[in-house]
């Protein structure tokens, strides 16, 4: 057995010997490599690694946690002692505790989360990738005369979890990305945008020239954007803004928001909360998925959850604690760093693609707003109210006509879900949350 796995078991055993009635220990070890090329010159190179260890203890139904980066014998002793001291001051909470034995376990197949090629990168070769991507952006259009750079970033590491129930799990993960942020100058000031590719393996990245070209295309089309008069129109969200809306929806579906009644979806299980065009999954078992995991951060075996099926709310997303509060079963969505109680996080959370291409959806709109960028954090999960700064392209008679900026879009997420008329076929994962293009019948756009 590896050293860190033995350490995790040792920490749990120490806690139990010191009087804990249950305990779990999580160890994270991570390495990062990043480099940025800006205007064809090397700007930054960073390379390092770190590790940390977290302990959660229970004294009956009381719980507390401690963390440290000091793995020495004294470091661990202090960690255990202060966890138990802290647990004595917390309250009895009948829902606190490790998972029920029947949900503990691991997904049996390899999920392809790790690729060896990310662990021994040659700095000059990675700089070359970033350089090629940025170069392609500059070559795309003469109006691109500046840039925040082309960047290559990689991380890889291990996660280990041991519990006093006898669970021991470990997995390795890797990820790398290549991105470009070009800046274009027009007659009315500058614009920037970006594009990136992300993969578990170096071999899985899109070609640098492709990334640079897309980044440049997105940037140039924002030049000389205008403000539009305040109106109510159909709105089409692209993959990027669609994903942001799904991330807000996740917050409202999380067991943490539901049990506190801090969500507009509380008490709506089994109800039609969205249009029939909406089917939503959370799936931890997609091969190579950015949110895929063999077990969650409490040691619960992961799987696939149907969250919304043809508009009907089928399941919330929960860890053990929130499931107990709601009298339901955990969906294996426990997530935590090394400090604190586990929270709830998405696995691969995505909207099922529909039949039409994004072009077909845009073509079906007479007068509307194609939204490609959000600014700000105006979402209230309690009420569902959503109000964001937005930029994008105005649609006139099914064509992308002119760029728009300095406007806001606002609505209520429950009403928005019910007004989703079309979902595109263009589902692509660039992270754990992913959305195809989709259209909402009508929203308020505030401008002049």
């Amino acid at each position: 057995m590896e050293e860190l796995q033995q350490l995790a078991i040792y920490v749990v055993e120490s806690a139990m010997k010191s009087g804990a009635t249950a305990a779990d220990c999580v160890i994270q070890e991570g390495n990062e490599f990043s480099t940025t090329i800006r205007c064809d010159e090397v700007e930054q190179l960073k390379e390092a690694g770190a590790k940390s260890l977290g302990l959660r203890v229970f004294l009956g139904h009381r719980t507390a946690s401690t963390y440290t980066s000091d793995f020495s014998h004294q470091g661990i002793e202090r960690l255990v002692a202060s966890a138990l001291a802290a647990a004595r001051v917390t309250s009895e909470d009948p829902c606190a505790g490790l998972p029920e034995p029947e949900v503990v376990g691991q997904y049996p197949e390899d999920l392809n989360l790790f690729s060896e090629d990310v662990t021994h990168l040659e700095a000059h070769a990675m700089m070359e990738l970033a350089r090629r991507a940025e170069k392609a952006a500059f070559a795309f259009d003469p109006r691109i005369q500046n840039s925040e750079g082309g960047s290559f970033d990689a991380t890889y590491g291990r996660k280990i979890l041991a519990t006093s129930q006898g669970f021991l799990g470990a997995y390795r993960r890797s990820s790398c990305s290549l991105s470009v942020v070009p800046i274009a100058a027009g007659t009315q000031g500058m614009q920037r945008d970006y594009w990136y590719s992300i993969s578990r393996s170096l071999a899985g990245l899109e070609p640098p020239e492709e990334i640079g070209r897309k980044a440049a295309e997105r940037t140039v089309r924002r030049l000389d954007a205008r403000k539009v008069p305040t109106c109510k129109v159909p709105v089409v969200f692209d993959q990027r803004t669609g994903r942001s809306i799904l991330a807000s929806l996740f917050e409202a579906l999380s067991g943490e928001s539901i049990y506190r009644r801090a969500s507009f979806l509380a008490g709506k299980l089994g109800e039609q909360v969205a249009s029939a065009a909406v089917t939503l999954f959370d799936d931890a078992t997609l091969k190579g998925g950015f949110g895929s995991l063999p077990f969650d951060d409490e040691g619960v075996r992961t799987g696939r959850t149907v969250v919304i099926e043809r508009g009907v709310l089928k399941s919330y997303l929960m860890n053990c604690y929130t499931a107990r509060k709601l009298g339901l079963k955990t969906t294996g969505n426990a997530g935590r760093g090394v400090a604190g109680n586990p929270g709830v996080r998405p696995a691969n959370f995505f909207l099922e693609p529909g039949p039409k291409s994004p072009e077909e959806i845009i073509r079906s709109v007479k007068n509307g707003f194609y939204v490609t960028e959000f600014l700000g954090f105006g979402f209230n999960a309690v009420t569902g109210d959503l109000s964001h700064g937005a930029a994008g392209i105005w649609i006139v008679n099914g064509e992308l006509a002119y760029p728009v900026q300095e406007v806001t879009i606002a609505g209520n997420l429950l009403e928005m879900l019910q007004a989703i008329t079309q979902v595109g076929s263009d589902l692509e994962f660039r992270g754990a949350v992913a959305s195809p293009t989709f259209q909402i019948a009508e929203m308020t756009v505030a401008g002049q």
Binding site: S69, G189, K227, H388
Partner: protein, 478 residues
């Protein structure tokens, strides 16, 4: 602060000659400059939910970051193991950014003299027994529930940290600091019929625990969070469109942080990627506006004795009576732009590269009474409290979302409105400031700013101001 220097010496047993050895390794491939950043951070937190204490967390993290600058290039590496071999290895990794003959480094290191201690702490909050902090969260819970029977959910969080830092640079300076930080926050839900609304309040600073017993009590934050949640129960949809907007004093200073603050960070201007690039000496605001960034305010959340590159903090005038005066600098940008240091080089932790960041950013008071400002507005929006904001540095467009706002009709506040996001253009919004109040207030110490994935604590402040034209993004009719 020799205290910090001693702290690391005693805890990890290294001497000045070890430090020089690490710097020599960092400059072994050339490079113009190198620094070491040692950090020892201890944190503790308690969370209360449903009137019971559900969590308590304590922890420690230690590390050292090594940076090498060579022209516009930055090399960076870090370690969470302060053994000499690991620090040397990090120094050698960071050295790779440069390519040239080794540089002879400093002869002798000397302590950077700090003019004052902005947060003299007798008892660090992290040294207190965790039970001493329990009372704070319990009192806040009771006060929020007692405020109004419609309050049905209360969450309270208390968190503190102390950070020992030591910056050692190849220009010979050693700067140490001991940085405490504490925060109490209250989140409430109120219900009437089917309607549920939220309220939030919180604050703190670089303070001792007694701050929460004597100055800003748990009851103060609890009543404020409860008041906001209950108020929202009667709020109507915010209007949509351009209108006159009055911002209340204090936290609405986030307008300055988003609209102009980020755009005046030197890195964006050096690279000419900011909408403010090249505008020094030009008029960017009305005559009523003077805006400063000030890291030297005692005990404030955004204050520092010394920034994370070892430079003492200062007050920097950003805008003086409408004219753009200066940028906020870190060592890299100051060197490349030939500008002086301002003490704005900050980083989230030893694992992060420093960048120009804000400290406490605020607008100086004007002459108008707040009532007088309101009376000039026939129809508009009054924004009293905000949630978060964001800016696109390059286009200059910024947004921020009001968590407490009211309709103004005929110079008086009428109904509360909800779901209002304000959007504007950074380089022009302050030109439309037509009145500035005499009631400057700073926020209560809750702000955290994100840039390039790094979070740092900041402060903001503003008097009541009137903006003649700003777009309000609600769903209602104006």
């Amino acid at each position: 602060m020799q205290q910090a220097h001693k702290f690391f010496e005693e805890k990890f047993g290294f001497t000045d000659s070890d430090l020089e050895k690490y710097l020599t390794a960092a400059l072994s491939a050339g490079g113009d400059y190198a620094d070491l950043y040692f950090e020892y951070q201890a944190t503790s937190s308690i969370s209360l939910d449903e009137s019971i204490v559900k969590g308590a967390t304590q922890g420690v993290s230690v590390g050292c970051g090594v940076r090498v600058l060579s022209g516009e290039r930055t090399g960076y590496a870090y370690t969470d193991d302060l053994s000499p071999e690991k620090i040397l290895k990090a120094a050698q990794t960071a050295a790779h950014i440069a390519s040239g003959p080794a540089r002879v480094t400093t002869v002798g290191l000397s302590e950077v003299k700090l003019p004052r201690n902005l947060y003299p702490i007798v008892i660090a909050p992290t040294d207190l027994d965790i039970a001493a902090k329990l009372d704070l969260v319990l009192r806040a819970d009771q006060a929020a529930r007692a405020h109004d029977s419609r309050v049905f959910q209360v969450r309270v969080g208390y968190a503190d940290e102390v950070r020992h830092v030591l910056t050692v640079s190849s220009d010979g300076g050693i700067a140490g600091d001991f940085q405490p930080l504490a925060r109490l926050s209250v989140f409430c839900l109120a219900r009437e019929g089917n309607r549920v609304e939220r309220g939030f309040s919180g604050g703190g600073g670089r303070v001792e625990l007694k701050f929460f017993l004597e100055e800003k009590t748990p009851e103060h934050f609890a009543r404020e969070a409860a008041r906001q949640a209950v108020l929202q129960l009667t709020a109507v949809e915010a209007p949509a469109g351009e209108m006159e907007v009055v911002l209340g004093p204090g936290w609405p200073g986030i307008l300055l942080h988003e609209a102009i603050g980020h755009g005046l960070e030197a890195d964006f201007n050096r690279k000419k990627t900011s909408a403010f690039s090249g505008l020094i000496g030009q008029k960017v605001a009305s005559d009523f506006c003077t805006v400063v960034d000030d890291g030297t305010l005692p005990s404030r959340r955004g204050s520092l004795n010394v920034d994370d590159e070892g430079t003492p903090t200062s007050q920097t005038v950003l805008i003086e009576r409408g004219v753009l005066r200066g940028y906020m600098q870190d060592k890299l940008s100051a060197r490349l732009m030939g500008a002086g240091l301002t003490g704005n080089g900050r980083r989230e932790s030893y694992a992060h590269i420093p960048m120009p960041r804000m400290t406490n950013t605020y607008m100086l008071a004007g002459n108008s009474a707040p009532d007088e400002i309101l009376r000039t507005v026939r129809r508009g929006l009054y924004a009293a409290q905000f949630g978060g904001g964001q800016v696109d540095i390059t286009s200059g467009k910024f947004v921020f979302t009001a968590s407490e706002a009211y309709w103004i009709e005929d110079g008086r506040l009428t109904r509360p409105v909800r779901n209002a996001t304000l959007i504007g253009d950074g380089p022009t919004v302050l030109r439309h400031v037509s009145m500035v109040g005499n009631d400057l207030a700073l926020d209560e110490g809750i702000g955290t700013c994100g840039k390039d994935g790094q979070s740092v604590p900041v402060g903001v402040g503003i008097p009541t101001i009137k903006v003649d034209r700003l777009t309000v993004g609600g769903t209602g009719s104006p």
